[in-house]
Amino acid sequence: MTKKIEINVHHVTRVEGHGNIVLNAKNGKIEELRWEVVESPRFFEAMLRGRRYDDVIIIAPRICGICSLAHSTASIQACENAFGIVPSEQTLLLRKLLYDAETLQSHVLHYYFLTAPDLLGVGSVFPLVETHKDVVLMALRLKKLANDLADIVTGRKTHPISCVVGGFAKIPKPEELKAIQNRLKDALEDLEATVELSKSLSIPQFERETEFIALKDTQEYAFISGDIASTDTGTTPVANYLKITNEFCVPHSTAKFTKHNRDSYAVGALARFNNNHEQLSPRAKKAAQDLGLKAICHNPYMNNLAQLVEAIYVTEHAIEIIDQLLARGLKQEDTTVKPRAGRGIGAVEAPRGILFHDYTFDERGILKEANCIIPTNQNHNSIQKDFEALVPQILDRPENEIRLLLEMLVRSYDPCISCSAHLLNIEFR
């Protein structure tokens, strides 16, 4: 009897943006296997051209609603790098705090709302309101905390307001920081309870050796500073990012992919963990140990657990940063900017991986050229290579199971397809 498998997942759900999975196999032979990205292109590089730097940092976060703070930070850094501005110590502390909110919010959303339904065998978080109400309430509480923290520091989580080139247009009140610090301390307990719960979940077993790329800073677990690190080749300065990303076109898809030392590389929480795990806090290290996460981990499904470990790390980090801010005292600083002609690059770790904004300005601070390289774009190739390694191992399983494992694999990368769509093809089958 001929065994035929036809999987065509049109618009994978519970990911940010639009992507399709195509698998056709006959008698154990794979005929077609593709990860397709079908998001409408948005043309940000064209939209940014001709705008002044202070508009640029407002338009750029609109690349992505989920990681708008990452885009905002990368955008501000690129402007400052171009204009030769060195941010003050207070600005850096506030940015780090804001970034903790970004990472916590995104990881909580992804872990509880987008991933957990798979692990618990349901289609969305909504039925969990009935069956796992305490877990859902905990997730909502954590998300609200991260959103509130961002609100305090920058006026709003989605599309931030107060963070600008040169600093902050408004600074938070000490009493607000104090109040939220207490909630962050409570959140650590929620997160550690989540680790307990997660120990019993079964993560699919699959490994493919690959290269992991993330920022690395000698001072701390890097999110918004440092050089580019690879588990294969060591560190490279951010200024040379194009030597890492090497975008290329592939014949079977018109989407641009990236590669460095091997066929593909991966970015995101797991890549950061694999490069920088030694710099995690003791509680985050313990969580990793409890969850069976050990560097260098080559199972892409474990990215979800790396996110949970990072959620603990950034919560502790935020508590510490607030202590530092309160100890030194906050004051409104001058944010006057003197633009100059030149090029600047910003590099940050978006929740789902390393992100670059590269701008060229004229002497009035009007943007001449922009290039944004998005983490999900860097992961598309890795998803495709994982598919190619995974499918032969599971081809004898029922079609539904194959489909779910492929969908879960895509989701484990936490892809942010709207972000990546600035250079992805759309092709409907």
Binding site: G65, L114, N425
Partner: protein, 245 residues
Amino acid sequence: MKPKLAFFDFTGCEGCQLEAINFEQELLDIINAAEIVNFREAMTEKSDDYDIAFIDGAITTERDVARIKEIRGRAKILVAIGACATIGGINCLKNFYSMEEVKRIVYGDCAHYYDTIPARPVDAVVPVDYYVYGCPMTRSEFLKVVKALLMGTRPEIPNCPVCVECKMAGNICVFERGMTCVGPVTRAGCNAICVTAGQICWGCRGLVDDPNADSEKEILAKHNLTPDEIIAKFRMFLGYSEVAK
């Protein structure tokens, strides 16, 4: 029977869908009062049977045009949420280039692969029943509209300029701080959140019904903006409207 709600995303950042998930406790209340049957960012199940469709994102491809017409055909009530869907938003920044130029800037040699049309709000293609403005959509307004629709009443959306709320928030006027903004012609409802956070109003909630755009342009000119800078100001979010032409 609970009304069936569906969420559909077009060309945008999906931040408005995220804002809907961000409701925390209120989200649970909505789930109690209505059935969510379509929400790709948050759930796997999909259904073509729905009463109220929430649309985020702008219309930027021929494919988008066909899809929004199909959704309009099925929905009893259609609500546009967020700047992209209600006014076109920043997507319209590309409309001031030829589409060939836009594709070449971003995709270079691969430009011919891409399908794109000038960006437009949803109501440029199909009738829209209700609007939730803002970039991202103003959350309190979304709740107000959802509550009204579930109770069968009409939501009241402000039609005064942001300046009214900005004064009430106790802010020092942006113009007095040596900067400029389009708050005087922009629809209120956001409590002037951006000015309160130390910034300016960019007009993300769209124009009030009868904007005095000429006098806004005069004021901007008086504050030393060149004609190009004035038009750039209007094009940021309001590129689809006449004032930005």
